[in-house]
Amino acid sequence: MRVQAQIEVAAPPEAVWEFVIDPARYLHFMAGVTRWEVAGALATGMGARYRTLMRVGSAEVGGLVEIVEWDEGCDLAWTSVTGVDQRGRWRLRAGPDDRTQVQLRLAYGVAGSGLLGWVAEQVAAPTVRGHLRRSLQQLKRQVEHERLRRQAAQRRSERGVSGAGTSASPSGS
């Protein structure tokens, strides 16, 4: 079963990328995710592994995943090593006016589980889709907020510089 969600973020792809490659941020913006821990020496990048869990129905489902695709600023994909079969992907595409189209895909299932597996995937789909949608909304809010903070900090710093210049030349006014 594959579910996906997308959203437009008012920030350039680099700003979004900064969030999606940082495992420490996942618990803050990924809805339903109860665990996203680094497993191994590599914290991020190709080959990095994470222990993940997402609450779906009566269980926290997940397992060990590994990053298998890393296209800087564009695509990041992971696949399961243990646990429920899953393949996830972040897809970032630059839009006009410094905006980014963000897509989050998750394919999941349990190979060999037959008809019950198929039914379970269908039943779980609305919950998983809801998690993905809320995750993207939270990601958008956090990225845009972070961008505003940085812009504000830059403005403060510029004002501080110009203010210092003004005080240095009191006769200039």
Binding site: L53, V56, G57, S58, A59, E60, V61, G62, G63, L64, T82, G83, V84, V110, G112, S113, G114, L116, G117, V119, A120, E121, V123, A124
Partner: protein, 316 residues
């Protein structure tokens, strides 16, 4: 769904019930009579015992469990609306003794919900065994339980599982607790069985109490039927200390619960408590009774809190 059966324990608990009882705990009578019915019943008990496979931890099949998870998830999520809390309290690795209260007659939904949650959380790669009554393991059609890691309840099997570094789930209350009357739903009733404390001390493993609620709402449990069992002589002949009486689907009046029943879809909530390391809490030589009372008190307090959250029976 896992199951428990009516009690049939005897010396060294060869027909175990998940409770790890010792001989001296509460099985005073062992004489089974010499009449024809007595001999027949003894022969039946012998047949049952002979059907119980020897414990082989290797029968646990991670691939089978993994492929069964979606079905368990559907049952647990849709039918029992299972909710499991505190799995993070279970140590990430190494042997651990999970001690649970048990409810629901011979069909115990709390075990179903916990088994799914454990495997989904830690992965099917982590060895996890459950002790069950020998009658359960000898029943035709329930052999799949062995693939889930269910082994006959005995101190030897418990030791084997813990020595292998696995997580082991035991239900000290066993059949005494699963058949308690519905008005005892919110009580932890271990009947004084302290075997799990000795086991934890012997292997120096942490105990994680696992408290569940809702299972005793899956039927109307009227009585353990201890008197009935005694009057019929079943306690002497078959060592059946309980002959439970309940009102359950689809039978109506259900005596013995030998064929199981259709559980009502009660909401099941399970909570794992922080691990207890007995020697850290009670010193190098803990007193078994004190440790037992401590675990029991913590579990009862948690069950009281879960009961207080519950607004309506079955609905939760």
């Amino acid at each position: 769904m896992s199951a428990t059966a009516t009690r049939n324990g005897h010396s060294a608990n060869p027909v175990g019930d998940g409770s790890l009882r010792r001989d001296d705990e509460d099985d005073p009578e062992t004489d089974s009579g010499g009449s024809l019915p007595g001999r027949l019943l003894r022969a039946l008990a012998g047949q049952i015992s002979s059907r119980v496979p020897p414990a082989d931890l290797d029968e646990r099949d991670p691939d089978y469990i993994r492929e069964s998870l979606p079905g368990l998830w559907l049952l647990s999520s849709l039918y029992f609306r299972g909710e499991v809390r505190g799995l993070g309290n279970i140590p990430e690795e190494g042997p651990v003794l999970l001690v649970g209260n048990h409810s629901g007659g011979n069909l115990t939904p709390d075990t179903t919900v916990l088994t799914l949650a454990f495997h989904a959380y830690f992965g099917v790669e982590r060895p996890f065994y459950q002790l069950a009554h020998n009658l359960v393991l000898s029943m035709p059609g329930l052999s799949f339980l062995r693939k889930f890691g269910t082994v006959a309840a005995s101190p030897a099997n418990a030791e084997k599982a813990l020595r292998s570094g696995a997580a082991l789930l035991v239900y000290p209350g066993g059949d005494y607790e699963v058949h308690r009357p519905s008005w005892h739903s919110h009580r932890v009733e271990f009947a004084g069985r302290r075997g799990f404390i000795r086991l934890a001390l012997e292997h120096d493993v942490p105990i994680v109490p696992v408290v569940s609620i809702g299972g005793q709402e899956t039927a109307l449990f009227l009585s353990r039927g201890e008197t009935l069992s005694r009057l019929l002589g079943l306690d002497r002949l078959l060592r059946l200390k309980v002959l439970p009486i309940s009102i359950a689907a689809p039978w109506g009046l259900n005596i013995g619960d030998f064929l199981g029943h259709i559980p009502l879809p009660a909401k099941i909530t399970v909570e794992a408590l922080p691990a207890i390391r007995l020697r850290d809490e009670f010193g190098p030589e803990p007193d078994v009774d004190e440790a037992y009372e401590h675990v029991l008190r913590l579990m009862q307090e948690t069950l009281d809190a879960l009961a207080a959250e519950r607004r309506l029976p079955i609905i939760g």
